[in-house]
């Protein structure tokens, strides 16, 4: 798992499988980085991800709740068809933009 901080923007490179088991670490590490670096924007990078359940939705909603009070935003990049389906179904796309191409 990798994290990248650029100014007030945090990119979370999600692992292959996002479930309850590995969501804990993502939650702790990203909260730590958000607090330390005055993060306003969180980008979830799904390039490697081929499995996610509702635990992943919980993490996205939790980070959104944290930074939306500061006027921040969350977004998703490199989403596969499967990930788009999961994100759309859960309704999390109402608070999070999916960007098709990063560059």
């Amino acid at each position: 798992m990798k994290y990248q901080v650029q100014e007030n923007c945090l990119t979370v490179f999600l692992p292959q499988e996002v479930d309850h088991h590995n969501v804990e670490e993502i939650r702790k590490e990203s909260d730590h980085l958000i607090a330390r670096n005055h993060i306003r924007y969180v980008i979830f990078d799904f390039a490697d991800t081929n499995f996610m359940d509702s635990s992943g939705i919980g993490v996205i909603m939790g980070r959104y709740r944290k930074i939306c009070l500061l006027g921040g935003q969350v977004c998703a990049v490199h989403t596969s068809e499967r990930m788009k389906k999961i994100l759309t179904m859960s309704g999390v796309t109402k608070i999070m933009q999916i960007y098709e191409e990063e560059k």
Partner: protein, 151 residues
């Protein structure tokens, strides 16, 4: 007679076993010749049910989770059972966004996901006795458009 197959899986309620459980069920259902999409649907549903058993059923303690799988014709039947704390109000627990553990960033969408990805979902629970989740899915029915609609 229709072709049937059966399996049973018993494992510790450790979060590291979540991927083991869903991969095992995915392997079990391969005889039904499912699409990648159908395998992903079942994996997600199994993951939700097992996560529920670990976090809510056993509240982090390590006990056994039981999965019973059966295929009959082109239908997969799954029973995922724990002997944990159970639930008073199953109806309420199944409501979208309802969660008893918001502090853990749980989205409250576990049952909604199971319902959306499987054809049938039945939940039985008794406080102090445990919870049983029964699901079934018929393989090869083709893609249904509603599944991509927002809950």
């Amino acid at each position: 007679m229709e072709h049937t197959n059966e399996m049973e899986l018993i494992f510790d309620s450790r979060s590291s076993n979540e991927s083991f459980a869903r991969v095992t069920v995915a392997a079990f259902m391969t005889s039904l010749n499912p699409t990648v999409e159908e395998v992903s649907d079942v994996k997600t549903a199994v993951s939700e049910a097992v996560t529920n058993a670990i976090i809510h059923g056993y509240e982090g303690e390590v006990h056994s989770i039981f999965i019973h799988g059966r295929t009959q014709g082109s239908t997969l039947f799954l029973t995922i059972r724990d002997e944990g704390v159970g639930m008073e109000n199953v109806q309420q627990a199944m409501e979208p966004l309802y969660t008893t553990k918001p502090e853990l960033d749980r989205s409250g969408m576990g049952f909604s996901f199971m319902e959306a990805f499987m054809d049938k979902l039945e939940v039985e629970s008794e406080p102090g006795k445990g919870t049983t989740v029964k699901m079934e899915k018929t393989i090869g029915k083709g893609r249904r458009l509603w599944t991509t609609q927002s809950l």
